[in-house]
């Protein structure tokens, strides 16, 4: 019997054992995250078939569920933890050669803590525990953004810290109000009793919690920290922040809305408009950027908007599509940041125009960037196409004029997205003098994760049936609140 607790305990233990292991040999510390995430990936993939059957509930402390802190390893939680372990593993392999200067030991500790926190957020069944894990994610990402200690990094970390802390305070007030109303912190228990209280008194905690989580999830009015933080962090950290941290924030938002508050049509309408607004603002800001990492960061905002839009439709197909989009965005955005990391290191500039002729200097990396960009835009052979297609089909299936207009706006966003990504691809391949430049690829430790991500982006399309089966059961976990309550409380 594999226990899901191990997914949290092992990386957490290794994170704090890391300085001690560093006393033995300085060389082994950078391999510890790799080991931790290989372990997590194996455990999570072993758990997938069992979780599809029925969710695993772990009561920590041995008390029965409403009184203990419970871990709920349902399909959603395990999909996320597999994704976190996978991206964590690939990025930690990438970091073996990418992170050279600065306090390396601290980087690896914070990196492990960030992903442990993220795994905890997706597995926990207790709302205060969610807050605690969320703070682990936040604090380690503040410090990782400032890792290089340069002007831009420190400034964006300060911005991120102030906004993030205010957000967390709102979240905590919301949790306090919920505890005052229900006398319990177990999410299933709150969900069970939510209808016994008048909607007006639930409204205040709902707003506070969504505001608090929305800061980390980069939902439109609350995301001014994101482009700075994602662009001034080291590229391996940007890949994690863009691929994991904001997704985890979004997970928390949808878990709170779908499971705890049970979502009325008004909330879903609110999500729809928030999603469209976030999408359009993100894509339009990305279009006007000359700095490649800022462009990718704004594109993340746009993608988050699209995912939020999918969850706002709130039909089973749309939620499946939203989760699929989330997976495909994580893979593609991690790939983009990883490839861009070495392009920036080779050229010494983040300006898009500095990448002229990269297609000849770093052919494999450029090809990988192109594949990632095409997947984000949603071109047919790649995974991004299928996820976008699912969302748009689900929106059109609503048979409503409003949804047709909104789909039009989503497609407009995609066109803008296409325009700025093709511009970069154009610079990579078709600009600059056609002299035979010396080839200088990224090192092998960077090429392995890039190659794996490319394989996944192309390969998931072939095996999309299996992914859809898993995602469908995750969507039904989110939409079927009664089943969730029953499985947790017994």
């Amino acid at each position: 019997m594999v226990n899901p607790v191990l997914l949290i305990v092992v990386p957490l233990g290794l994170a704090f054992a890391l300085p001690l292991l560093g006393l033995i040999s300085k060389k082994i510390i950078k391999f510890i995250p790799v080991i931790a995430f290989i372990f997590n990936l194996v455990i999570s993939s072993l758990l997938i078939p069992r979780v599809l059957d029925h969710p695993i509930i772990i009561s920590i402390g041995g008390f029965p569920p409403p009184f203990c802190i419970s871990l709920v390893a349902g399909p959603v939680g395990i999909i996320f933890s597999t994704l976190i372990a996978l991206i964590g593993l690939l990025v930690s392999i990438y970091a073996l050669s990418y992170i050279k200067e600065g306090p390396e030991e601290k980087y690896h500790i914070l990196y492990l803590l960030l992903l442990t926190g993220a795994t905890g957020v997706v597995l926990t069944g207790d709302i205060f525990n969610l807050f605690v894990f969320f703070e682990i994610v936040c604090i380690s990402s503040y410090s990782l953004v400032a890792y290089r200690g340069d002007k831009a990094g420190i400034e964006s970390a300060v911005k991120y810290l102030i906004q993030g802390t205010v957000g967390s305070s709102f979240l905590l007030i919301g949790i306090g109000l919920l505890y005052g109303l229900f006398g319990t912190l177990n999410m299933a228990d709150i969900a069970q009793n939510i209808t016994s209280i008048s909607p007006l008194s639930i409204f205040v905690p709902l707003v506070l919690i969504i505001t608090g989580l929305g800061v980390e999830a980069a939902i439109f009015p609350l995301n001014s920290w994101l482009p700075d933080a994602h662009s001034s962090a080291p590229s391996s950290v940007s890949a994690i922040l863009s691929g994991i941290a904001i997704e985890v924030g979004l997970y928390a938002v949808i878990r709170v809305i779908f499971t705890i508050f049970g979502g009325s049509s008004n909330i879903f309408m609110f999500l729809l408009f928030l999603g469209i607004l976030t999408l359009l603002i993100g894509e339009m800001s990305a279009f006007s950027q000359n700095n490649i990492k800022r462009m990718l960061a704004y594109s993340s905002i746009g993608q988050i908007g699209l995912i939020l839009f999918a969850f706002g439709i709130a039909t089973s197909n749309a939620v499946t599509g939203g989760l699929f989009q989330l997976v495909s965005h994580t893979l593609a955005k991690a790939l983009l940041f990883l490839t861009v990391g070495y392009m920036i290191r080779r050229t010494g500039s983040m300006d898009i125009s500095a990448f002229e002729g990269m297609g000849r200097k770093m052919p494999f990396t450029s090809l990988a960037f192109t594949i990632g960009a095409f997947s984000i835009v949603g071109l047919p052979p790649f995974v991004g196409f299928f996820s976008k297609f699912l969302i748009i089909r689900a929106a059109l299936a609503k048979q409503d004029v409003l949804f047709i207009v909104l789909v039009g706006l989503v497609l407009l966003g995609t066109v803008i997205e296409g325009a700025y990504f093709f511009r970069v691809v154009h610079v990579l391949y078709f600009k600059g003098e056609k002299v035979n430049q010396e080839r200088k690829e990224a090192p092998i430790t960077a090429l392995i994760p890039i190659f794996v991500l490319v394989i996944l982006i192309v390969g998931i399309v072939i095996y999309h049936r299996y992914i859809i089966i898993i995602l469908n059961s995750a969507a039904s976990e989110l939409l079927n609140k009664v089943e969730y309550i029953r499985s947790v409380l017994g």
Partner: protein, 126 residues
């Protein structure tokens, strides 16, 4: 006279909430208005103190006792809820960590810019 007693009654019941939300509001105002980073960090600290006070007052009973069931002579209806205390302990620890990180970032920021005035530090923008 009646009004006064009503007001007193109201204060008696809700004074902790008023205090807590007062602190939260003061903290938010400081964060939004002040230009000096150290003052903003102080605002964050006041904000988190307010949140902690709020959490404690959720479980507070006037003239309550500690929730010890093994000790005889304690009325179980007058026991204070222990869960918010556990929450506040955790929240205080998290608050300390954030505060320490914020202050150390402030030191580094001063090294780079020679000022803590947030209006003058704006190299990163949309």
């Amino acid at each position: 006279m009646n009004l006064l007693s009503n007001v007193m009654n109201f204060l008696n019941n809700y004074v902790y909430y008023i205090g807590a939300f007062g602190l939260i509001f003061i903290g938010l105002c400081i964060i939004l208005i002040k230009r000096n980073l150290i003052k903003v960090i102080i605002g964050l600290s006041i904000l988190s103190t307010g949140v902690n006070l709020f959490l404690i007052s959720v479980g507070y009973i006037s003239k309550g006792t500690a929730p010890i069931f093994s000790k005889s002579g304690l009325d179980s209806t007058r026991m204070v809820d222990p869960v918010p205390h556990a929450l506040v302990l955790t929240a205080i620890v998290i608050g300390v960590a954030v505060l320490a990180l914020a202050l150390s970032l402030a030191i580094r920021l001063y090294h780079h810019y020679g000022t803590l005035n947030l209006r003058k530090i704006k190299e990163q923008r949309w």
